[in-house]
């Protein structure tokens, strides 16, 4: 009976995957017509060869390192200082008997920062479950809610406390940026969390949130790759995870081969970029400009 049910479930999954593939093709159809209209005769845009080369090389590195990680090869990543700050914040909330507030930014689940934030959320959930500290997760985008619910649930299960998971603590607030900020500010003032963890993509609401958290006396750890918002977190939070450190943190915490491999691959890409930069500067100084122009996309 059970195997029959499992078979049905597999069939259903196959149907759903086909649906997702169908939607992808549907989504690609405007691109198809656009390509036919604009390029009429060519599928290959020679002005974007540089992009192709970079994508192939970078993805090559990433796939190589993912394979290495999957084989169990040790991939060294230095410890990110912000990780200690997260543990310290959760520990402090536990000592004070007050909740932890986790804010995952205001972008949707298709944003890479939100994905990284969800990975960190899973680890935070595991931590709070071990300490039996309440965790509030106010969400800005509806699509993020199920992902956050899954991550928190998995975190509680990983800590051996699935019964302690409270679905109502993952709350949708509002799609509107400032309504969301007002709602989260309200939570900060009324529930007075002892630790505010803000990881993800933030915009103008960043200072409103961080400043309110500062006023309530919470220990605050923030991380975003939105360069224009980092200054606000730096001035108002106890610790800030800057830019790519956000992705490194998620890789470090999860030890997931795909994330570790991506991080190592991007490190190698950075080394190559440094080399290209030095070479470009030398050639520019020598009056050769074609090398620099090759990287430019109109």
């Amino acid at each position: 009976m059970e195997s029959r049910s499992a078979r049905h479930r597999l069939t259903l999954r196959a149907i759903l995957r086909s649906l997702a593939l169908g939607s992808a093709i549907l989504l690609a159809s405007p691109v198809w017509s656009l390509a036919q209209d604009d390029l009429s005769s060519s599928w290959f845009n020679p002005h974007r060869v540089n992009m192709l080369v970079f994508l192939v090389v970078f993805f090559g590195f990433i796939i190589y390192f993912i394979q290495r990680a999957k084989k169990g090869k040790s991939l060294f990543i230095r410890r990110i200082a912000g990780l200690d700050a997260i543990e310290e914040a959760v520990g402090r909330a536990t000592e004070m008997g007050r909740p932890v507030l986790y804010i995952s930014g205001i972008e949707d689940v298709d944003n890479i920062q939100t994905v990284a934030s969800m990975i960190i959320l899973g680890n935070v959930a595991k931590m709070v479950a071990q300490y039996d500290t309440p965790l509030f997760v106010p969400i800005c985008r509806p699509f993020v809610v199920p992902v956050a619910e899954e991550r928190v649930k998995e975190g509680y299960a990983a800590a051996g406390r699935p019964d302690a998971y409270n679905r109502d603590n993952v709350r949708y607030i509002s799609d509107e940026q400032f309504a969301y900020a007002a709602g989260v500010n309200g939570i900060m003032l009324r529930d007075v969390p002892a630790a505010n963890l803000m990881f993800g993509s933030f915009f103008a609401e960043s200072l409103m949130l961080a400043e309110t958290g500062f006023l309530t006396g919470a220990i605050q750890v923030a991380g975003t790759a939105n360069i224009h918002q980092l200054p606000f977190f730096i001035v108002a939070c106890d610790y800030t995870i800057i830019g790519e450190e956000l992705f490194a943190t998620s890789a470090y915490l999860s030890r997931e081969p795909k994330l570790l491999g991506s991080l190592k691959g991007s490190d190698l890409a950075k080394a190559i970029i440094m080399g290209l930069l030095a070479l470009g500067a030398i050639l520019e100084t020598a009056g050769v400009t074609s090398f620099t122009k090759w990287f430019f996309i109109e």
Binding site: I173, D175, K293, F295
Partner: protein, 209 residues
């Protein structure tokens, strides 16, 4: 200004002051304004999605015979499975589709804007014969050091650690400039609200007396 406009501007002025009262402390006026904005935005976005997405991107194509649009429709419906503990896994293909398509669109865009263009703009002629060339040396050193800070495969020790430290100082200089610029923008927003309140009370005074 007519009576109707005066009343509506009065509501706006009351809400602005209610929100600003948060600067003193949490109070019933702020709570009222907060709940109002959250509630109104939820209703507003539901209508926006209905008229800007649901109707033109699903119902209209389906009613004009483009039946393949039923596929994203079904994927959307699957999201409702979240309400059932037994069937909530059915929503995963939809989430996978959203995340996958988002990444597919974002990766080339990021590579173009944040890697290739930045790289091209940083390849500058260097030297000691003019100030721009000397500044270019500084720019290139700063870019190198900032990249060193974000290199995670090596501990920040020794010469590399020194470069990474200089890199973080470089970033802080940039953040400081960004902070100042954005704060000026916020002050401009505050000034606009203050002007609105001033004009409103001025017109209210004229209307009453």
């Amino acid at each position: 200004m007519g009576t109707t406009e005066l009343i509506w501007n009065g509501v706006a002025a009351f809400l602005v002051l209610s929100i600003y009262s948060f600067l003193y402390k949490d109070n019933p006026f702020y709570k009222f304004a907060e709940h109002l904005v959250v509630g109104v935005s939820a209703g507003y976005f539901a209508m926006i999605l209905y008229y800007n997405a649901f109707l033109p991107k699903l119902i209209h194509p389906l009613s004009s015979g483009q039946y393949w649009y039923v596929i994203p429709g079904i994927l959307g419906l699957l999201m409702w499975a979240r309400f059932s503990r037994k069937w909530q896994w059915l929503s995963r293909p939809t989430l996978g589709f959203v995340i996958g398509s988002g990444a597919g669109v974002a990766i080339p865009l990021y590579l173009q804007n944040y890697v290739l263009r930045q790289l091209s703009a940083s390849m500058l002629p260097v030297g000691f014969s003019s100030w721009p060339q000397i500044t270019n040396i500084l720019i290139i050193i700063m870019v190198f050091c900032a990249l060193a800070y974000f290199y995670f495969s090596k501990e920040h020790t020794g010469v590399f650690g020194g470069a990474a430290k200089f890199g973080i100082w470089t970033l802080m200089v940039g953040f400081g400039a960004g902070f100042g610029m954005t704060v000026m923008g916020r002050v401009a927003l505050l000034a606009e609200r203050v002007v609105f309140l001033r004009d409103y009370f001025h017109q209210l005074w004229n209307a009453v007396f």
